[in-house]
Amino acid sequence: MTDLTKLTLAEARDGLAKGDFTSRELTQQHLAAMEKGRELNSFIVETTDIALDMADKADEMIKAGRGTGMTGIPIAVKDLFCTRDIHSCAASHILDGFKPKYESTVTANLWQDGAVMLGKTNMDEFAMGSSNETSYYGPVNNPWRATKQDGRLSENNYVPGGSSGGSVAAVAGHLALAATGSDTGGSIRQPAAFTGLVGLKPTYGRCSRWGMIAFASSLDQAGPITKTVRDAAIMMESMASYDDKDSTSVNRNVPNYEHALTGDIRGMKIGIPKEYRMDGMPQEIEKLWQQGIEWMKAAGAEIIDISLPHTKYALPTYYIVAPAEASSNLARYDGVKYGLRVEGNGLSGMYKNTRAAGFGDEVKRRILIGTYVLSAGYYDAYYLKAQKIRTLIAQDFAKAYEKVDVILTPTAPSPAFAMGEKSNDPIAMYLNDIFTVPASLAGLPAISVPAGLSADALPLGLQLIGRAFDEETMLRAAHVLEHAADYTAQPKIWWGEK
């Protein structure tokens, strides 16, 4: 039988509809790939029996003519989505043993459409990280490794990016056809860029946050991680919905995003923000960006230089807002309702010991920063100041969108780096998100598209940022960019072959 794990989601959907293969066959091949790919450490939990059961139900749906774009598609789910009676711990020790008694709205939508769950994927603890090295379950290995000058593959492990590192490793390694991710400051887009995948963060409010383990509630959004732009469009349609259980979810019709992929961007106005041309940006990133501009121009788009003056303040603003919200959200982990409990001197001692043992270093660091910037005497200087600058950043974008339809930038300032290279320098790690954070702060949709390879043959991505709730125009541009880049590179398999 042919290797079904190499299909795109759209190809698998069409093959299932035609009866070329069943969801059970498709799922079994992915389960076998997962077993072989355990060295990647992309899955925390494999839900084999559930997957086969869901596949059989999907096959019945297809047979009865009730199939949707996601029916029978085996996907991986980031551990931050609550899945009923299944391990959901956001890769944190403090949620040890937590099996929620409810299902997140996003995953419920996917199961309703007949998608098949392969398992829960590894991630940075509570989505705090850009390299997937902060997980309680150990780091995730990028399926990609640098190619040395002599043409051989490096023996070092590379980071997959983060926080959705397990999700991207699973899809890039062909262990899953697609995966759910979540993006607070770049956690879908940066890892997608590091692994040669498409990562889509929709407009804030497009997906329900209900049942997603919260990090920074004013920024968190769910989105798909896929092999192609078309796959992202198909999966996005299933994930998005209005949900009265999330007061920030927005009551708007979910369009058929795949219909937006017309291949025609003639006359589309694409903005190039000069502030994204950072000092010290690697030449190859600059070159790829320039190439992207040329591709869009060749496809008939109009290129317009724009200015987003507050760009350089986005990252420090984010590192006030996100830790502040995290310190509040993570107050719920107290050893009483779920997860870990470590006894101590009285109630307060129990709280303190539980949280000292349950949170990792990066999570503690952010809780402490967040507590500090919200504390009496500092609130105005830090938190209020940051929220004002956030307004200015959003206004920069609003002004730009008077002139342009989408904005084109690099996704990340570098390709994937070697494991351990940045783990001792928090600020160097934070800088990974320099190009992704501004859109997060403004709540705008953004997508990373694989566009080329670095000098040592690691994937590089370009980012498109769209108008609020105009994912369609952004996807149309992304689809054209994807075709122009004609990116076909695949990681050389180094895992599972001992």
């Binding site: 420090p316 830090y382 928090p426």
Partner: protein
């Protein structure tokens, strides 16, 4: 603005995270490194700028004031590290 050992101990106490005495100095250095970097925001003129309250301009929905959820005590207690008689338990807080 920079934090000293005493301030770190205070915010760790507010955040209910036990921190050992020998961890305080390294933590203060780490936090100061981050706070020093954040300091650049002070150069931005924010006079007359309204702080952001929501990225999406929509009115929050209203709903009827009635109970729409509940009635599953056992499910809520199912993940508790310890429970008794249908309640969560905590260490004794009354002397």
């Amino acid at each position: 603005m920079s934090v000293d050992k005493k301030t770190v101990a205070k915010i760790a106490d507010l955040a209910r995270i036990a921190v050992r005495e020998d961890e305080l100095d390294p933590l203060a250095a780490e936090l100061n490194n981050i706070l020093g970097w954040i300091e650049q925001l002070s150069e931005v003129n924010t006079d007359g700028v309204a702080p952001m309250t929501s990225v999406v301009e929509v009115a929050l929905p209203w709903r009827e004031d009635k109970v729409t959820d509940g009635g599953y005590r056992d499910e809520i207690l199912a993940n508790a590290p310890d429970s008794a008689h249908g309640f969560f338990t905590v260490p004794k807080v009354i002397e």
